[in-house]
């Protein structure tokens, strides 16, 4: 079947199996491997993407269900050479180690800050509670999101500028 959706601002149409999961559509059909897969049971949240601005576990949604919607993945977080403050915050506060849960965590954080620009710690913890990180013990993820909340202006990316 043909599905059409907007991914990171670009409209895409692909012919896919009806049973194709959104996570596999993004990763394999579109080659956007920044979205990860971790559990199959909607528990771990490494596959979180934003659908119309809301965090969705892409292992639990079919590509077909997302037709007509706007999807945002980690690849769509930076605006050209400018990092999202959430991305900058994760580097500043050591919010990642192996990096596997990071895209999902950052997108949930982005959705949270869009909704609530200055959340308290309990709100942040609740927002990311549908996602598992095995490396950080979460405190630095919380601090990363707090850093982003305190620096709402998009941060220029040294990496992109010098690259």
């Amino acid at each position: 079947m043909h599905v059409t959706m907007t991914v990171n601002g670009t409209e895409v149409t692909r012919n896919v199996e009806p049973r194709l999961l959104l996570v596999h559509f993004l990763r394999e059909t579109l080659g956007l491997t920044g979205t990860h897969w971790g559990c199959d049971t909607s528990n771990c949240g490494t596959c979180v993407v934003l659908v119309d601005g809301e965090p969705v576990k892409s292992c639990t949604a079919l590509a077909a269900m997302t037709a007509g919607h706007e999807v945002r993945t980690v690849e769509g977080m930076a605006d050209g050479g400018t990092l999202d403050p959430v991305q900058q915050g994760f580097m500043e506060a050591h919010g990642l180690q192996c990096g596997f849960c990071t895209p999902g965590m950052m997108l949930t954080a982005r959705a949270l800050l869009d909704r609530e620009p200055d959340p308290d710690e309990a709100t942040i913890r609740e927002a990311i509670s549908g996602q598992i990180c095995r490396c950080t013990g979460y405190a630095t993820i919380v601090r990363s999101i707090q850093w982003a909340a305190a620096h709402p202006a998009a941060a220029p990316s040294e990496q992109e500028v010098t690259a």
């Binding site: 199996e17 049973r19 194709l20 596999h24 990763r27 080659g31 956007l32 491997t33 920044g34 979205t35 990860h36 897969w37 971790g38 559990c39 199959d40 049971t41 528990n43 771990c44 490494t46 993945t73 980690v74 690849e75 977080m77 930076a78 990092l83 991305q87 994760f90 580097m91 500043e92 050591h94 990642l96 180690q97 192996c98 990096g99 596997f100 849960c101 990071t102 895209p103 950052m106 710690e121 942040i124 913890r125 609740e126 990311i128 509670s129 549908g130 996602q131 598992i132 990180c133 095995r134 490396c135 950080t136 013990g137 979460y138 405190a139 630095t140 993820i141 919380v142 990316s157 990496q159």
Partner: protein
Amino acid sequence: MTTVQERSPMPQEREPNPAHSDPDRPIGYGRIQRKEDPRFIRGKGRYIDDIVLPGMLHGAILRSPMAHARLVSIDTTEALAHPKVHAVITGKDLEGLNLAWAPTLSADVQAVLATDKVRFQGQEVAFVVAEDRYSARDALELIDVEYEELPVVIDARRALDPGTAVIRDDKDGQTDNHIFDWEAGDKAETDAVFARADVVVSEEVIYPRVHPAPMETCGAVADYDPIDGKLTLYETTQAPHAHRTLYAMVAGIPEHKIRVIAGDIGGGFGNKVGIYPGYICAVVGSIVTGKPVKWVEDRSENLMSTSFARDYLMKGEVAATTDGKILAVRTHVLADHGAFNATAQPTKYPAGFFSIFTGSYDLEAAYCSVTGVYTNKAPGGVAYACSFRVTEAVYLVERMIDVLARKLEMDPAELRLKNFIKPEQFPYKNKTGWEYDSGDYEPAMRMCMEQIGYDDLRREQAEKRARGELMGIGVSFFTETVGAGPRKHMDIVGLGMNDGAEVRVHPTGKAVVRISVQTQGQGHETTFAQIVGEELGIPTDDIEVVHGDTDQTPFGLGTYGSRSTPVSGAAVALAARKVREKAKAIAAAMLETRPEDLEWEKGRFFVKGDPSAAKTIAEIALGAHGTVALPEGIDGNLDAEVTYDPPNLTFPFGAYICVVDVDPGTGKVKVRRFVAVDDCGTRINPMIVEGQIHGGLADGVGMALMEFIGFDEQGNCLGGSFMDYLIPTAMEVPDWETGYTVTPSPHHPIGAKGIGESATVGSPPAVVNAVVDALAPFGITHMDMPCTPARVWEAMQGRPTPPV
């Protein structure tokens, strides 16, 4: 040896480096952002499932639904008829290649694909190769396997009973489920001390089966080129070089024709040390089909079949005087190794380094014995940041110290302080043969107590108890033993536990360091660059760390048991020092002076008494590769390599205190506060050190309160998904509070001891001690992990049951 105490609740800010004027280009140790982060925050990491090769096929494994059954027949006809299936491989096919069984890391064999029996639920039975991952899974449904059920052995305590089903009847002469007996310490001496002791406490202590469950499951992409006979194997591995050697030994492919590539690894924690049947199946699949084959397991496969951790049933005993002097510890352990003995540990240590169960205390005697048994459960055993079973050892001794404290009606912190090995006793030889390199325990303990406000908490607890509220304070103090290890004592399947490093300074003064260890999130690309930078005065940004590719890096045994910094970090530092010595000779030639007239300051050599006559490391590098007339015996580069054989292990330590509140109505445990004071010797990047500790603390809370791989009577795994195997989220853990002391290792080139597993080792007893402390009004002296609400509630009813 000096002990520097500093408190750092938050990582310290970037330290200015006097040797360099540009604060944006830091050199050497200190808190700096990680070099690997820019790719990860953009979603540009390259994990196993991100690898796509031209023409690549996908593999899937059919697994046994039964825990113990005879394999009667396998019919693959229908699966082979699937239009997208390229191959179906069974154990019989592998027998023809002599690959149906593979050696484990513990002198046993493990079935790659079952031929005679299945021995645990989830065991590999057949491998399908198809055009895409969905078709491969579809085809699994088309394979028809007939099983003849056999009695299962699930309870390790029953494994050796007469008449019990023999799991490993494939092994010649194996007539029961016994694997090994092992002991350490002096039994007679220990028994004598126990016989004359005023007080003896004993407790059955279980460290249940848990699983490392890294967020990325295990997988491989095998690409065999039949023309030149070269196998390129992308793998989730913590030990690429050891894997390559083992593949060469097992598969008969010459070692120089195997290239193992470990890209970005989404967490390991020991889960990615061993070689799993799926990896071998991917290789066979690629050889059979002539195309690259990807195999990535799903979460249930990961939890049910790959290396579990713990599963130690321990009888702990402590002998002491009535005034609280601990005299001796004694234990017998029943170790459940599952269906194949596949633990990853040094050859001479079938129970890992468990004999460090003497802990941080100065004892008169100690004795432990360990019996390993087979059961119908997944194989594995040394995983989940356990430091080769130090986790089990520390949990036992720290739980038992609290049992003793209760018996003596002493404060558990005071009891520990009274019995610590004193700073002047280091290097300290314990009663089971370990030589603790350095330590200063009391300041760490005092710092932890002060930081958490120990005395105030005890007062608060007394008030709450009077009101019927359940609050617990749990103390633990651990000594780790990491950095394996000296080759005269330690090898894994015959490979000495050493690691190589190679440092090259390019003509323009930029450097590359090639290492044998494998990051899984620990930040090697940053830390190892900082070590080289510290030694050579080169900015971290100008140093590239290469790892994870056997074609590009020197041989070494990889990353597990917190060994990267203790072993590979030493190799890197010494290689950089060799470069510096060479640079000195070249600088002398350039400055027309003698090497002994030169002095080093970070980044340059200058003539003693004339600092203006100097050559920077970049100038020397250009000279080395240029036209400078080189001194005798110096060749034209600025490179060096070292393979490091550690003279001893390193012994990080720490003091942890946990505060919990228990809901008397539901038994739910809330971790209110957790203070961790760690000493890992020299801290290269305090931010990364702190991150390692935080992760381990969350592991500890998870194991103490939630995580558990259980089985029912038929051997069905009850922890086979994240719906059942519970891992802490941000809601279950507190905001960690940390502090540190610095007691360098005297034998390590930079004094670093390693930190990767300290918190996983030290934190479970702090949490459980806190829970048991909270439940003291119910007369409970011990309860086993996991302290789930249901199990805590049962304990409150006077029925603290072992986990099943």
